[in-house]
Amino acid sequence: MSVGDFIRNSQVWKSIFRHPAPRDRRNRVVVMLTNVFLHLHPVSVRKSGIALSYTWCMGGLTFFLFLVETVTGVLLMFYYRPTLEHAYNDILALRDVATLGILRELHRWGAHAMVITIWLHMYRVFLTGSYKPPREFNWGVGVILLVLTLLLSFTGYLLPWDQLAIWAITVGSNMGRATPFLGYEGPGAKLLRVGDVDLIHSGSDARFILLGGRFVSGDTLLRFYVLHCVAIPLAAALLIAVHFWRVRKDGGISGAL
């Protein structure tokens, strides 16, 4: 009996892998369906699904970059502290002191690349008409994912706490305060008042709850950190699951329209 056979017949192995490696079609299906990671994928894929000139593979690349960002992001979290005192210096330390501190740049480049691939994916879906019924809802889900990706970029931009970061978020949130009804300087804000008291003012509009204050401060840094690392990725993961499920149920990637 070879070593391989010995291992494959051991109780440890058999308790982890219940079925032998795929050897025929029925066995292949069984292996896929009884594995929690593999069963998320379709059992078989259409040949045109891997034709690069047809799909551009931008959606797949975007998801791959999402995973890259998650992994590099989690690793960066070991060395970054989202406080006024430490944020800027921790980023510098990642660059100069940490081994493979280039992870910070990988995270940044990955973010830029993900925004590019998501736009290209959107463009490809439009060109191939893959938004037409019955796929309209999935297009909508994709648009929300686009917004979430841009929000991830927006919240992540503040975290280095340098001049670029603070002013970009200041200007961005200042534009937000002119939003109708949601911002205290926007049209409609003055309509909601009880007598003399404005219900929507600089201490109660959407900008206030986003920044955690009236201007960009340490509270903002913490809020954006939580949004960037936990809240938005969770929402994105949920919608990605819906997005992929919809593609599968509508006939798989590059299925007939």
Binding site: N174, L199, G203, I209, G213, R214
Partner: protein, 204 residues
């Protein structure tokens, strides 16, 4: 610079609905299961099924509203809005004092053409375009914003670049000890005609 904690009350959204009433004696036989308002209300409040789901929905709505209220901070660690800037005779004519720029104000003494004499006012350091902090160029006698090039005269009036309106003035007055006191909780905008308000300047 010392930072104090201000307790700022933010307005609270309406509180959650309270739990519904306990089941009363059943209404007439026709009410149970009837497809009218009475039948619906009976199911909702007089059956365990309805009470359970109503309570659950009320709790979920309450939790959502509570979560939103939770996200509004009650305490802000912002510096106090009022601060003293020294006695008025310390301020030289036609000069912009930059000592209080970190606290968000330029103190300017300038001859006002309408009022006929020198006045002292506190200009906000926030550019009216998109919120960056301009710089005072003494040689050119203008405020220049580094972000997009907005230019303001010594009076604070915009004259070049994308700024749509003049710099804002903070409320300014004389405290009990004779020092000038600037109050950043009140602002005065020229384009709204508010610069004629006596709280927006001090006669030198």
């Amino acid at each position: 610079m010392a930072e104090t904690t201000n307790v700022t009350e933010a307005p609270a959204p309406p509180a959650a609905k309270t739990a519904p009433a306990k089941p009363a004696a059943p209404a007439k036989a026709t009410a149970k299961g009837g497809k009218d308002r009475r039948g619906f209300l009976y199911v909702m409040f007089c059956t365990w099924f309805g009470i359970a789901w109503t309570a659950f929905t009320a709790t979920m709505i309450g939790m959502t509203l509570g979560t939103i209220r939770f996200l509004y901070p009650n305490v802000l660690s912002e510096p106090p809005s009022k601060f003293k800037v020294g006695p008025p005779d310390q301020y030289e004519p036609e000069k912009v004092v930059e000592r209080f720029k970190p606290q968000g104000a330029w103190i300017v003494r300038h001859k006002d053409d309408d009022l006929g004499g020198d006045i002292i006012y506190a200009l906000s350091t926030t550019c009216t375009h998109l919120g960056c902090t301009p710089n005072w160029w003494d040689k050119e006698q203008k405020f220049k914003c580094p972000c997009h090039g907005s230019g303001f005269k010594i009076t604070g009036v915009n004259f070049e670049g994308p700024a749509p309106r003049p710099l804002e003035r903070w409320a300014i007055g004389i405290a009990d000890d004779g020092q000038i006191i600037v109050d950043k909780s009140k602002k005065f905008q020229k384009e709204l005609g508010q610069w004629s308000d006596p709280e927006s300047f001090i006669k030198a």
